[in-house]
């Protein structure tokens, strides 16, 4: 019952989010700020994680295909596949759910408990539209760029790991990466990411906007938002995988 109430309230919020901005000039200003806050500031962590995850995947694959009957280029092939299909979109989204999600909930939640949201509403401003729409657009625009970077660095990380550990040769790896290349898996990955980006912004925004109380409640709401965002991403990941690949 309670869950249904929240789901309903969440969709009602989305209806407000997608109204036309009251003032375009203000919207553009907000958008650029959000691209910086939600996007550019996540570049470092995304790059760092992708690179090392790519390295780990290639080392693990290399160690599990020690048999002389399995060609070494499979390492490149497997790394490319797992990075593009799963690690880049899902891993990055979970990380962003933590980083960006808690930022969104706590910033909107703080505005709520310090009456800044009331101050917006009093002026006749639709606070949800004003605060959330630029964040949604920023994420939908910028997170695909992050994904492309993550894919590239993941595969690069796998190769560098090979160079360092000498578990496989560069030629084999690069051959494997390009083997049986199917553009659909890239598309699939971007579709997933766009859905996740939407969730990463809107669920924390919902939790932030409905906070009641003080600083403690803002903290609680942030934790809750991160948990729910991650759960929803994992579930959606399952269904999307089944729908798009099954």
């Amino acid at each position: 019952m309670n869950y249904l109430h929240h789901i309903g309230a969440y969709f009602l919020m989305l209806r407000e989010v997608f109204k036309k901005p009251q003032k375009w000039k203000v919207f553009w200003e907000m958008l650029f700020r959000e691209i910086d806050d939600l996007g550019l500031k996540s570049l470092g962590i995304t790059a760092f994680i992708s690179f090392f995850v790519g390295g780990v995947v290639s080392i693990q694959t290399a160690l599990s295909v020690e048999s002389p009957f399995i060609p070494k280029y499979l390492i490149g092939f497997a790394t490319m596949r797992s990075v593009v299909l799963e690690f880049a979109p899902t891993f990055i989204s979970i990380i962003l759910a933590g980083k960006v999600g808690s930022f969104i909930t706590s910033s909107i939640g703080t505005m709520r408990v310090t009456e800044q949201i009331d101050a917006l509403e009093i002026m006749g401003i639709n606070s949800i539209n004003y605060l959330v729409l630029p964040k949604v657009i920023a994420a939908l625009f910028f997170y695909p760029i992050l994904l492309a970077i993550a894919m590239f660095l993941g595969i690069l990380g796998g190769w560098v790991a090979g160079l360092i550990t000498e578990l496989f040769f560069t030629e084999d790896y690069l051959f494997g990466v390009q083997l049986d290349f199917n553009p659909y898996i890239i598309k699939y990955s971007f579709i997933k990411l766009v859905v996740f980006a939407f969730v990463i912004v809107t669920i924390p925004a919902y939790h932030g906007h409905k906070v009641e109380g003080g600083a403690l409640e803002v903290g609680r709401a942030s934790t809750k938002a991160v948990v729910w965002t991650s759960v929803v991403i994992i579930l959606l990941n399952y269904f999307l995988t089944q729908m798009l690949l099954g």
Binding site: V26, E115, D118, A119, E121, I122
Partner: protein, 254 residues
Amino acid sequence: MLEVKDIYKSFGDFPVLKGISTFFEKGKTSMVIGQSGSGKTVLVKCMLGLFEPDSGIISYDNRIFKDLDENERREIRQEIGMVFQGSALYDSLTVEENVMFPLKMFTNKTRAEMIDRANVVLNRVNLVDKNHLFPSELSGGMKKRVAIARAIVMNPKYLFCDEPNSGLDPKTSIVIDNLIKEITQEFDIITVINSHDMNSVMEIGDKIVFLKNGIKAWEGSKDNIFETDNEAIVDFVYSSNLYKKIKQAHLKGL
């Protein structure tokens, strides 16, 4: 005139307002007073439409708030200035940007015009050379001034102030009180102030509405608050020793 008729508001099973009726006039500083928790903030938020009253009517110069659609409500809201209990300045904007914000949102002024207007109101509240500071860099009194400047930047017809001098020292309180009173007279607007500070009440209370246990227990002006023998208000006013002494002096004709 701003009218409130028979407002009821509960949270769950807990009634906060139990049938409040009163009215507020132009050019006068009206004050809603009462103990902490008596429902002052809830009443003001009902008037502003931030809370939907369970029943009752709020009417802004004969425009009945609950009968208006969302667009008409927005129009009224653009005629309202509000100073929140905690100032509610936007953390991410500077003083100047905070004050300019309503202009940016609702007018087509150029940036230079907006800055000019912001400087006019910032001067009006005696806050100069602070334009580029962020709210976190201001003292409580300065924040209140910025909040007042932001509230009046659009030339409102209605000004609401929720405890404008909470957390301020007595001297600064008086300055802020007088500022609000002057602005009210200067622009001939309807001003409603929430307060539990008897000093402000005696300083600027043209009309006083006293709330207790969710009802209006007394109504009058600062001039007849000493004459009344209404127990509730007497009890409230003289909970401070200073005022006991003032009343004794008053009765002795001093």
